[in-house]
């Protein structure tokens, strides 16, 4: 933990491995949130959404 992080370097992109891993993890979480089925009943699609 006290050692400097390893850095990835492609052209003008310079990013530490922990930061790159965190961003990748967030992208994976985002895709999962979009695609993963939500638990419970399938829902009543006839229900009207309120908009005022």
């Amino acid at each position: 933990m006290d050692n400097p992080a390893t850095y990835l370097h492609w052209g003008f992109i310079l990013i530490s491995v922990p930061n790159a891993a965190l961003i990748l993890g967030m992208i994976v979480l985002f895709v999962l949130a979009l695609l993963a089925p939500f638990p419970g009943h399938s829902g009543d699609r006839s229900e009207e959404h309120r908009e005022r």
Partner: protein, 208 residues
Amino acid sequence: MSAAIDPEARGSWTLALRRYLLRRLPPEHLLPERQPAFVRSWTYVLGAITLASLVWVVISGAVCAFFGPQWWHVSPQGRFFNSLHFWGTQVFFVFMVLHLWAQFFGAGWRDGRALTWVTGVLLFVLSIGTAFTGYLSQENFDSQWIGVNAKDAMNGAGIGAFFNVLNFGQMYGLHVLLLPGGLLLFVAVHLLLVRMRGVVRPLSETPR
């Protein structure tokens, strides 16, 4: 009640305010028991997780503020609550950014929800300031390193004279009182706006 003392007849501001609030914030919208079917998605949970982690951060921060820096650095309980505060902040930022992505790509400002989006942006900026002053308030070498480097940025931006990152008292006061106060106020406004307008319909379900 006679007409002479009828608040309605006198144009009472409390009555006017009550009617306005009931019109804009009816109780069934503030605490709905049902949601539209499209809310059954994990993307609508991201904001709720952000809010839940904020609750953890506020509670663990209050405990740390009560016992003070020596406690949170030295005792095992203090280190535990300090870690809760730190990791709660990491979770808060991760899910706030995921919530931001979901609202950005879903155009969450549609159908009169611009102010909801704007308060979200303000919350994002306020959160960065609150986290920054938190890093400066750690009372360790890490906070000194951040402070010494950040002072040049503050001076370069021309605000170093009244935002002194090397002044622990000022940074700590900002971190535990003013910035969280503003943050909680805007969270309340943000949630009220969400309740007033309802959550935005997904782009795929928007009538063309």
